[in-house]
C-alpha cells in the first residue's frame, strides 16, 4: 500500500529525515524554511524514533551541533535559508576539514544581504564552489520536486557517510513552499551505538581499552601533513565526480537547442519545452541533479548535437559558467535569469531562447 500525502517540500524533507533514521536535527527559524523545524517539533520525533530536535540559539550554534553529532557518527541535519546558510559557512568548512558527514538544507531566497524571502538560485556558487574558507567541496543535490525533497534526505545521509563529507540539498523557496504528491518511504531504524561504532571506527563515542583515542579535528599545523590531507580531500571529490553524477534529460533525442536548468527552474523549463515544441522549436532540457559533481560529460556530449544552449537560473548567471566549461566554446551558450525573488515564467524562457540563442 503506497503512502501518498500532499505535503510542502519543507514538510516532506522533515518527515523523510525522521524516516531516514536521522538521529538529530538542529535549526533556527528563517523564512522560507521554518516549516522544517515546525513540522519536526509537531511530530514529536523523540517519541517516534528517539530523534533529537532542538531549536538552537543561532544558525552558527546549529551547524556546530551538527558537527558534534556527526563526530559521534550520528545522522544529523540542519536547515536554513540563504542568510542563515552564510552564517553556517564556518561550521561547514570545519565539517569538510574534519571529514564529517552532515546534511545541510538550503531553501534559498533572494540576496545579497537580507534580500527577499522569495525564491532564488543565487547561492549556486556558494554551494558548489566551497562556500567557506579552504579548499573543499560539498556534494550538492538539487531537488526539483517535493518527492525529491523527501528522497534526497535519505540519499543525502547515505552519501554524506559514504564520503565522510557534508552534503548540501540546494532547494529554494518554491520547492520548499509548494505542495505536491509524495510517496513516503517506510520508517528506517536508527542505528544503535554498537552499530555506529562497528560501521564508523572513527567516531568519538568514548575511548574503549581496545583502541586508541579518536580525535576529530581540522587543525593540522604541519604544512606537509596539511597538504597530504588536502590531497586526500581532493581524491574524495574526484571519486564523487566519477561515481555520483546524477542528471535527467527531457526531449533531448531530437533536440536542436538545449535548456540547462536545475531545481525549480528545471520544472518551469519543462513547460517551456512544451510551449516551444508547439511552436516548432526542437528544444530539450538537461537537469543536473547533482550540482557538484556537475554533469559536464553529458553536456559536452549534447553540445555536439545542439546548436545552442541556454542556462536558465534564478540568478545573474552562475551555473552558466560550469556549462561553458563543459561545452568548451564550440557553440553558443548564454544565460537567462531572473533575480530578486522573481520566478521566470515558462513563456518568457521561450522568448529568451529565441532572442539569445536562436535569433542571436
Amino acid at each position: 500500500m503506497k503512502e501518498l500525502r500532499l505535503m510542502k517540500g519543507n514538510e516532506a524533507i522533515a518527515e523523510a529525515a525522521i524516516r531516514a533514521g536521522a538521529d538529530a536535527y538542529f535549526g533556527y527559524p528563517i523564512t522560507p524554511q521554518s516549516e522544517v523545524l515546525e513540522y519536526l517539533m509537531s511530530e514529536k520525533p523523540h517519541e517516534r524514533t528517539g530523534m533529537v530536535v532542538l531549536q538552537a540559539e543561532s544558525e552558527i550554534a546549529a551547524i556546530n551541533m551538527v558537527y558534534g553529532g556527526a563526530a559521534a557518527g550520528r545522522r544529523v541535519m540542519t536547515s536554513s535559508s540563504s542568510p542563515g546558510i552564510s552564517l553556517k559557512q564556518e561550521g561547514i568548512s570545519y565539517l569538510a576539514g574534519s571529514q564529517l558527514p552532515g546534511l545541510i538544507l538550503n531553501v534559498t531566497r533572494g540576496g545579497p544581504g537580507l534580500g527577499t524571502i522569495q525564491p532564488s538560485q543565487a547561492d549556486y556558487f556558494q554551494a558548489t564552489k566551497g562556500g567557506g574558507h579552504g579548499d573543499y567541496k560539498l556534494l550538492v543535490l538539487a531537488p526539483s520536486s517535493v518527492q525529491e525533497m523527501a528522497d534526497f534526505a535519505k540519499l543525502g545521509f547515505e552519501l554524506a557517510f559514504k564520503y565522510r563529507n557534508p552534503v548540501m540539498i540546494l532547494s529554494d523557496g518554491m520547492i520548499g513552499q509548494m505542495m505536491e504528491k509524495v510517496e513516503m518511504f517506510p520508517q528506517q531504524a536508527r542505528l544503535t551505538e554498537e552499530e555506529i561504532i562497528k560501521k564508523y571506527p572513527w567516531v568519538t563515542t568514548g575511548k574503549t581499552p581496545d583502541r586508541e583515542r579518536n580525535i576529530i579535528t581540522s587543525l593540522i599545523l604541519d604544512p606537509a601533513e596539511q597538504e597530504r590531507h588536502n590531497f586526500r580531500l581532493q581524491k574524495k571529490y574526484k571519486d564523487m565526480q566519477e561515481n555520483e553524477v546524477r542528471f535527467e534529460t527531457f526531449d533531448c533525442d531530437d533536440a536542436e537547442y538545449l535548456f540547462v536548468a536545475f531545481g525549480s527552474t528545471a520544472r518551469i523549463c519543462q513547460k517551456s519545452v512544451q510551449l516551444a515544441r508547439k511552436k516548432g522549436i526542437k528544444v530539450g532540457l538537461l537537469r543536473p541533479i547533482t550540482l557538484f559533481p556537475f554533469p559536464s560529460k553529458i553536456i559536452e556530449k549534447l553540445a555536439h548535437q545542439v546548436k545552442g544552449i541556454l542556462s536558465v537560473e534564478m540568478n545573474a548567471g552562475q551555473m552558466v559558467e560550469d556549462v561553458r566549461l563543459a561545452v568548451g566554446g564550440d557553440i553558443k551558450v548564454d544565460h537567462f535569469g531572473r533575480m530578486g525573488g522573481i520566478i521566470p515564467m515558462p513563456d518568457e524562457i521561450v522568448t529568451a531562447l529565441k532572442n539569445k540563442i536562436i535569433g542571436g
Binding site: E57, S58, N64, G68, T205, R213, I215, T217, L219
Partner: protein, 262 residues
C-alpha cells in the same frame, strides 16, 4: 654513586604518585609555569579515579588549549572558536549517559562564544564547562581578552585597558550563575597545592552531577599567563593573587542550583 642511589629509590614499593594514564605521554606545549597543565592533569585524574575514560568525550577550544586533545587520552573533538558548548549540547543530547565536557579559554568562552555559553547554560544542558581565565589571549600573542582587568597591559591595550574606550571586563561566571539552567558554578585556581585539591573536588562534583542530569556545571579556573603578562611564573602567581583574585574572587557561586550568599 648517584645512579645507584636512584636505582635503589625507583621501586614500586616506593611509588607515591604516578601520572595518570588518562594523560598521554606527549610533552605539554604550554609555557613553563602555565596553569593549563595542572588543570589538564586534575581533570584527567578525576576521569581516571571515576573509571570513566571510555565514557568521556571532551571538546577542545581555539586558543592555547586548542591542542588539548594531544594530551588528554580520551576521545576528543576540536571546536570552531567559541562553539564548544554547541558541540557539547549535541553530544550530550545524543549520548546522555556519557560524560561530556568543554575546555575553553576566556576569549573562546566569553567573547566569540558568549551566545553559545549563555544559551547552553540557560537551557540547562547536562555537561560541564571548564573555563580557564587568564585575562589575556595567550596563543595569538597576548592580546586583550574580555576578562582583561582595567588598566592591564596587553598587546592590544598597550597603555593599559581603558574601560571608557575598550569596555569593561566581563564576569561571565557570575552572569551565567544567574541562569536557571546553571546548577553548579564555582571559581577556583590551580597555583597552590591547596587550590589544586579544591579544584579537583569541584571537578569530581561536576562530573558526578552529570549522572543526575540536573543542569550545567561550570568551573572557572583563574590562571596565570606568565608569557602574556611578561612575568616570571612566580611573579605571575603573585600578580594573580594580588590583582585577579580581588576582581575574580575564588569560591562557589552557585551550588545545588542555589546562589551562594556572600
Amino acid at each position: 654513586m648517584a645512579e645507584a642511589f636512584a636505582n635503589e629509590l625507583i621501586k614500586k614499593e616506593n611509588l607515591v604518585y604516578e601520572k595518570t594514564k588518562v594523560l598521554t605521554d606527549k610533552t605539554l606545549s604550554y609555557c613553563p609555569g602555565c596553569g593549563h597543565g595542572t588543570a589538564h592533569r586534575i581533570i584527567m585524574e578525576v576521569i581516571d579515579e571515576m573509571g570513566v575514560q571510555s565514557e568521556t568525550i571532551g571538546i577542545a577550544p581555539v586558543g592555547c588549549s586548542v591542542l588539548a586533545y594531544e594530551f588528554m587520552n580520551i576521545d576528543m573533538q576540536q571546536a570552531a572558536h567559541g562553539r564548544a558548548p554547541a558541540i557539547a549540547t549535541a553530544l550530550k543530547r545524543l549520548m546522555p549517559k556519557k560524560y561530556i565536557f568543554t575546555y575553553q579559554g576566556d576569549g573562546d568562552l566569553a567573547a566569540i562564544g558568549t551566545a553559545e555559553t549563555i544559551h547552553a547554560c540557560n537551557r540547562g544542558e547536562h555537561f560541564t564547562i571548564f573555563f580557564i581565565n587568564n585575562g589575556i589571549y595567550g596563543m595569538t600573542g597576548g592580546q586583550m581578552a574580555p576578562t582583561t582587568l582595567p588598566g592591564m597591559r596587553t598587546s592590544t591595550s598597550p597603555y593599559g585597558r581603558d574601560v571608557q574606550m575598550m569596555g569593561n571586563p566581563l564576569k561571565i561566571t557570575e552572569l551565567v550563575a544567574q541562569l536557571p539552567g546553571a546548577y553548579y558554578v564555582t571559581r577556583q585556581a590551580v597555583h597552590t597545592p591547596s587550590n589544586v585539591r579544591k579544584t579537583k573536588r569541584a571537578v569530581r562534583k561536576a562530573f558526578e552531577l552529570q549522572q543526575s542530569a540536573v543542569g550545567i556545571s561550570l568551573i572557572e579556573i583563574v590562571s596565570n599567563c606568565n608569557s602574556g603578562w611578561k612575568m616570571t611564573p612566580r611573579q605571575a602567581n603573585t600578580w594573580m593573587e594580588e590583582n585577579m583574585f580581588p576582581f575574580y574572587p575564588l569560591g562557589d557561586i552557585k551550588v545545588d542550583g542555589e546562589l551562594v550568599k556572600k
